[in-house]
Amino acid sequence: MSQIHRTARGGRIDRNRQLTFTFNGKRYQGHPGDTLASALLANGVAIVNRSFKYSRPRGIVAAGAEEPNAVVQLGASEAAQVPNVRATQQALYDGLVARSTNGWPNVKRDLMGLVGKLGGAFMPPGFYYKTFMAPASLWMTYEKYIRKSAGLGRSPTEADPDIYDHLHQHCEVLVIGAGPAGLAAALAAARSGARVILCDEQEEMGGSLLDSRETLAGEPAEAWATQVIEELKGLANVTLLPRTTANGYHDHHFVTLHERCTEHLADTAPRTANGARQSRARLHRVRAGQVVLATGAHERPLVYAGNDVPGNLLAGAVSTYIRRYGVVPGQQLVLSVNNDYAYRAALDWHEAGREVVAIVDARPAPEGDWVTEAKAKGIRVITGSAVIEAKGAGRVSAARVAAIDIDGFRVTGRVEELACDTVASSGGYSPVIHLASHTGARPTWNDEILGFVPGLVKGVHAAGGANGLYALGEVLASGLEIGVRAAAATGHPSSGFELPSAEVRRDGPQVALFQVPHEKPTLRAPKQFVDQQNDVTAAGIELATREGFESIEHVKRYTAMGFGTDQGKLGNINGMAIAARCLKRSIPEVGTTVFRPNYTPVTFGAIVGRHCGELFDPERYTALQQWHVEHGAAFEDVGQWKRPWYYPQARAQSGNGQRETLHEAVARECRAVRETVGILDASTLGKIDIQGADAREFLGRIYTNKWQKLDVGKCRYGLMCKDDGMVTDDGVTACLADNHFLMTTTTGGAAAILEWLELWHQTEWPELDVTFTSVTDHWATMTITGPEARKLLAEITDIDLDRDRFKFMEWRQGKVAGVPARVFRISFTGELTYEINVQANYARHVWETLFRHGEKYGLTPYGTETMHVLRAEKGFIIVGQDTDGSVTPEDLGMQWCVGYDKPFPWIGKRALSRPDTRREGRKQLVGLRPRDPKVVLEEGAQIVLDPTHAIPMPMVGHVTSSYYSPTLDAGFALAVVKGGHHKLGATVYLPMADGTTHEAEIVSTIFYDPKGERQHV
């Protein structure tokens, strides 16, 4: 198929090269420099989609980000599928494959269209709310079908083959938009020496200069753009980012830019020259000092009947397609306008050698220079009139034109029908205020330009069209001034540069026209679309106001205007104007809706960057990670740490490579510790080095118990409360020297506890001489525990392990396996235990030496699950499992660990005398023994006293830890029960979800070796 609408010459395309692409299964040709939209128009493809709600055929309307209809699904393979691509923004490449996102079996013969035609009358605004909400239980079913039949594209079902990344950027002046204002601002700022980033969403920088019919310094305007871009490219303080959309403006001038790195080359990123993968898209996370919004303006279409029939375009888009892409999107044009600037569409069309049927101007007596020029070229200008309706099915076939009374909102003259295939319209221009709106600043209405200009927070500037300036000379001057101002604000005075002389053109004033009246009232006229992407009509808005929706925010919710990926780029102002007309208010009285990030859709990959797969979250490893992996450990996440959970062995009896289950491995590991000796990698425990003359005093204030009398060489268990008296951490702290302690914390709490200590020291007790330094990573900690632990350690250490000279809760230093070590005799299992600490670089050597010597003792590595069982058998709590932020030391029955008579009021002390912490009936930690020893209670199970009570039963507590104990050959649990400390021996009940009820006895929390003899041996 030939490119029937391609001009003979002109445009910024490379006519010497042909590109082949496929749209809806059909092959077409285009040229480098084309967008998918311009190539489709060149090939005469009028219908590109079916509409969302009514399934009406739709064509290309715009030439940029504001395009509502040409939203396509891109990708030649399943894995490369990209939804929501605007054909107007997608550069053409060889082999491009795209499909319409809506319309089945195809956009020309759409089965859903029938539904749309029949259903249209029955689908008023608020349709979903009114119809599908009842019964609520069916909404899930409705939604599935609604989404399937609507659809703005789909995500791929295969894994994305591409990679993405983030780049953290910092600059003094960020200029968004590289049209005339942005280029001028960037050049002014750049010449001051400020660090400048200039980004632009299009394939080429230059913006409106690329399709301008004006001259600068006597040359075509695009030549000035080229020259400025060349200069900026050569400056080391300037970063140019083409194909990069500023999508979100966040707090403190943090702006997210979305760069499409390779999307102009292929649907998946090609390899680089050296064969490496490269990012398909990149998110630039920019922190800017000053931000210049040079985002230009979007032309507003007029709202008239049939304005969505393919062949209805924006006037400016017509010029862009002709001048930039060498495409005239039709044969006969009717142009409907309310302003002078839009006349250029007719002039460009005429110069391209095609017929301009008429310019229909809503103003009674237009008189600008371009009006004169059009008349001089013999173009018919019909004044005081507008296109009130475009006729045609699948393509415009005629425009119905009539004189109108704008203020009276009515058609006043005879309707003339002009045969044509294209209707272009312009209702003026709306500054692109989306990014400024993201900052929370409200825009203000400007009557002169008939548009909202952005509200600006400190450090944000708007230049050119974004600020409602449209004449080229004014736009450039505004860019220059703001570039100088922004640079100066960052400490870089700039003398600017000499502006090129722009043409002086006389423009007549525009007239306020948004919705064009029809002979019939709005509710009965053929559909007049306000938001084509969301199928919102003028009648829909009128109906919404009649139903009592007066706030524009409510009208938007009710009608879906400006929803989703469209974000109201073309329709919002017209929608507000219509609401204002219906409510008999002014537009500023109706207000404006707020725009949200993102300005255009961003691929999820770019948001994620490389924070995915194996890099999704840090995995923290101990120095023994490789050994654990080699020995088949199953891992558990504890915070960001990977800790061995258990070490499943090959099953002895089966011999077919089957490995133990968790239950089997834990039983074996538990028995090893209780009967011979086990070893645990405890390196993840938080370790804080505390030094200073007041270290001991500080510990006494931060822990609940006493520290004044802890001698050098000794260790003590400590409990820490928040100021509300609730337990927050625990661990063993050793006295290394008079002014020197080593504190251990829970694995997960390490960082928070270090902050907690710093907080109290820095804000409350700065007079104390004490410092805290994390040494968690410096030391590797290997815990050997069990009856054979002493014999094993004795083989490889010079430390005297005599039970009376190195007692329980003491530490010694010496060498273990030839490595300097501190050994702590403390126990979390109730068995004879030594915790060996060595500098982490030696960990593997010491660990493996232990295994060489430990084999004869049955040394068995165990993981966190076994650790949990063993500690629970001893009634040792785990903060965060047996406590939940509402548990005091007294609730835990740990009064032995509270120094009530300490001279200084330690953190949490006062809270322990509050009525609530003193009251009867607090939940207290107890042990539970199920009556049936085979039962292992569920953690979290609720406890009741009377299982026959009617539901809801009064619940008196819940299970916090529960395991099967191989040592006891029975299930056992820890639980919190109201008044539990006074209920020893009582029977409680645990009703389960499946209807069964377990029975258990309240017992002591210590299930094994209640006198603690084993750890003292």
């Binding site: 953290h168 950027q169 990012s279 490789q626």
Partner: protein, 211 residues
């Protein structure tokens, strides 16, 4: 006699040591630098790392006496001695990181403690818990831009500066000892994550690992 416990956690015995990246090299490999490599990384393992806490004036006197170098004169400063082998970096208003060739740290700790006498100070050996990674090459800065939130532009990050900052989803110390070289000081437990991140982010620059 010092009221803090000093302990040489290093031994001269011929005992195998493993750097924080030992596992990473085995698991993730270490691509050899080639002619296309625009960035290279090199681990300087087993250096002596000491955290110095205390007042700037007394510490400055002590390090001048013991090491013949000054504390950095201002926040975020990094200074080296004449050999370039020993450095002191500001970490926070009362905290500095002293890095010396491996094996020197215990001697320096003792001598500093002696020089500091009864002053309020603390010295903590953290050498087993962190490792230093050097980055060089024309794309080193861009690789850092992918990784750290902090501004690494030369105007903002001149030679002789060092900061603690966010590295991907971890924390790292970043410093710039020379025009061409950047250094990361990584915590042992996060080192593998940071290493894998660097290999992944550096792929397009044909990143190489000097071993």
């Amino acid at each position: 006699m010092s009221k803090a416990a000093v302990f040489d956690t290093r031994t001269d015995a011929a005992i195998a040591v493993e750097s924080p990246l030992a596992y990473s090299y085995r698991r993730s490999g270490a691509p050899t630098p080639g002619p296309h490599s625009q960035v290279t990384i090199r681990e300087r393992a087993f250096l002596g790392h000491l955290i110095l806490r205390g007042g700037a004036i007394v510490l400055d006197e002590a390090v001048r006496e013991v090491l013949g170098m000054n504390l950095p004169g201002k926040p975020q400063g990094l200074v080296h001695d004449a050999s370039g082998e020993r450095s002191i970096q500001w970490l926070s208003p009362d905290e500095w990181l002293l890095i010396v060739p491996g094996g020197e740290e215990f001697d320096f700790e003792n001598r500093l403690r002696e020089a500091l006498g009864d002053a309020r100070f603390a010295i903590v050996n953290v050498g087993g818990g962190q490792t230093l990674l050097e980055l060089e090459g024309p794309k080193a800065r861009e690789l850092l831009m992918k990784s750290v939130v902090y501004d690494v532009h030369p105007d903002h990050f001149p030679v002789g500066k060092g900061v603690t900052t966010v590295f991907a989803k971890a924390t790292a110390i970043l410093r710039r000892p020379s025009d061409t070289r950047w250094e990361l000081v990584l915590r042992r437990s996060f080192a593998d994550y940071c290493y894998r991140w660097l290999l992944d982010a550096g792929e397009e620059y044909a990143i190489g690992v000097v071993r």
